[in-house]
Symmetry: none
Subunit: 415 residues, 2 copies
């Protein structure tokens, strides 16, 4: 089955918004075995929408469309779809009640713009939108489908997971697809590829391989698109061979993110965590607490952006900061021990670095970062040299810290 | 003048890469007065490339294409363009010498893949690529133009600036364009639209309006695409009228993000900031420290995920937590005062809430969040009711906290 993704919004075409919806939807469709032929981004304009649908359906029977469903005047997708399908907008009691309930729960009352949201094209099937007031619509014509979803990413994702993907899986006859994703950290792509060259050459021809690099690590994905069920054993074998080649770098073979793996391991061994963050500025704490249930393990963090805070709250001696500088091995070790004591934890991650763009020196250029790991009465530290981009440096420091602690916990307890 | 952007690459369609090239090119074209009609992303396949060019030229005389020009086997754009324009690939001595000079300078010698890069379609004009070995091509047909550029972002950007944009400006007769973006927070889209209905009706017909909502606030964008220079005064007037209608909700009329506006205001009035975060888990600290130079203003944060940390480090009396619960007005007020004192700051944001999915009760359902703002010797708190999605609740709590503090600072100092 082939699909085309259409994203609607002037803001995409003038470059004010980067279209992340198309990439996300493409990945989801690919996972269930739907091949995306094309992404089209267009303006909020009737002729553009109509032309895009024509072009899309010429190439694929499944069209996923996002955007232009808000309650304001510049959002015209609903009317445009009604025109395209020669149908009238009619009042839907069901949608009206849903919008009303949605607003009441949040303490708002309905206004005329919200009332308009209960008008939907007669020819469509309305699908539930659990997180917003915009209607989700499904149109069918000659065995071809078109779904129209709101463009707000978190609403769109929830609707895709709960409503769209299950329908597509059930109603198109999709060939089962198998993916196996192994999560690695700490080895750059070129080195990884070199190290895995032989292993790669030994994979069956039907198994395709992709490296998906990001500052959060490199995912190695094995995919089988045809007769997938016959490859279960081969995939399992490939994964265990891979883990034997780079045991220290694989942190998950079930596509679980590093922050979740770390929290699970800490919970398993009854360890409570605290972080002391300088250049990461709370990013580690923020990533960890984005995981539901993190409070089972995470006590909190001291974000010591100022040196005075490092001394006062983390007990880093001022003389040590003066002698070695805030970005140094002794300082991060003191930070890790200090936060573990202050927050009554069993394990700690401490980070101090120069994220940039300012603050670098010939001795400690931008990207220089020290990370310390404390576990019970053990403390160790490591220096990293990241790049020149502030955001990426912060992210790399945060994930390197979590990876290091996860490795130390495994070394200590997994014997 | 209208344009279509075509980006080529399998990795875009399976969601492995987010297409940032199209957004960047769109912004650049829009700035010089070219209206982008459509972005198309397609696979590395001849039929897909040919169909995309047909569709693009049907709607616009200018096509900018990126991707598929690398030296490896999956890059087929050059051959595909030669086929489309019924022309042969011929050896270009000029390109050969440029590639050779490029490689020599970097200490490499030419291999057969590089030699192939000197083969270019006879019908095209070759344009200089100062940063790479891939040829940049320009095709002309019946007054329509097609540029083919490499997809590597930094190469593409350099070529656009140095070669493509100057040619487009010189050879098409371009009209200047004007945009004005106003940033708002704290009012949902439907209510904003209702409040601005009259104002909107009073805008000149040539001024188009768009609402761009996100958990970080709603941007209101005014655009003029024709005779833009005549609308300077009208746009200025529209912006000041808008600010008069919702003075408390507009935090920027220069498209600056809330975190930057807050840091600028704090700096302007000589105030240093600290945050005490429970449900936001360090997100506010993380967002603020992602801004370069935030250390001028930001002292740090205490992420008190555990109640014990709230008592020990933020001096929230245990009896108050026991009586009112951790998510309550007195607790966030104590947190704000406590962190301000501990981190020696002049202003503080404190947040405690139930981000979900667990932890809710009939009395305090998921989404219930208390935020306190402390400024010098003043403390105030406000209750919010966000939704049911953890990530969005955290983001909304973080931005609501920053918005509240920014409002209090403005009220206090902007008289």
């Amino acid at each position: 089955v082939k699909a085309v993704i259409i994203t609607i919004g002037d803001e995409i075409l003038i470059g004010q918004t980067v279209d992340t919806n198309a990439a996300w939807i493409g990945e989801q469709l690919n996972r269930i075995g739907v091949q995306v032929e094309k992404n089209i981004s267009i303006r909020d304009a009737h002729d553009a929408i109509h032309t895009a649908i024509d072009e899309a359906w010429e190439q694929a029977p499944l069209v996923i469309m996002t955007g232009g469903l808000g309650p304001t005047g510049d959002d015209i997708t609903k009317q445009s779809l009604a025109d395209y399908f020669n149908t009238a907008l009619v009042f839907s009691e069901k949608v009206h009640q849903r919008v009303q309930a949605f607003l009441t729960k949040r303490g708002y009352s309905m206004n005329s713009n919200n009332k308009d949201q209960a008008m939907v094209p007669e020819a469509c099937t309305v699908i539930d939108n659990p997180l917003g007031t915009a209607p989700v619509m499904k149109f069918e014509q000659n065995g071809r489908w078109l779904f129209s979803l709101p463009g707000v990413p978190f609403e769109m994702k929830e609707i895709m997971h709960k409503e769209i993907l299950p329908r597509v899986k059930a109603d198109f006859q999709l060939q089962p697809v198998k993916h196996k994703t192994i999560m690695t950290y700490g080895m750059p792509e070129a080195f990884l590829a070199e190290k895995l060259e032989k292993w790669e050459a030994g994979l069956p021809a039907q198994v395709s391989l992709a490296y998906l690099p990001s500052p959060k690590g490199i995912k190695i994905r094995l995919s089988v698109y045809e007769n997938a069920s016959e490859f279960d054993d081969k995939l399992k074998q490939a994964v265990s061979e891979l883990k034997a080649i780079i045991p220290g770098n694989v942190f998950s073979d079930s596509e679980t993110e590093l922050e979740r793996v770390l929290l699970e391991n800490l919970k398993k061994y009854g360890l409570r965590l605290a972080t002391a963050e300088s250049c990461t500025g709370g990013r580690i704490a923020s990533v960890l607490t984005s995981v539901p249930g993190s409070s089972d393990v995470f006590n909190g963090s001291i974000v010591a952006y100022q040196n005075a805070v490092k001394s006062k709250l983390l007990n880093v001696p001022e003389a040590v900061i003066a002698e070695y500088g805030a970005v140094s091995e002794p300082v991060v070790k003191y930070m890790a021990e200090g936060v573990m004591k202050q927050l009554n934890a069993d394990a700690a991650i401490a980070v101090s670095g120069i994220a940039g763009p300012g603050g670098g020196s010939p001795d400690k250029p931008v990207g220089t970062t020290w990370i310390a790991i404390a576990l019970k009465n053990k403390v160790e530290a490591q220096r990293f040299r990241f790049g020149s981009t502030r955001d990426v440096n912060i992210l790399r420091a945060a994930y390197s810290g979590m990876f290091l602690l996860n490795s130390v916990v495994r070394e200590t307890y997994e014997q």
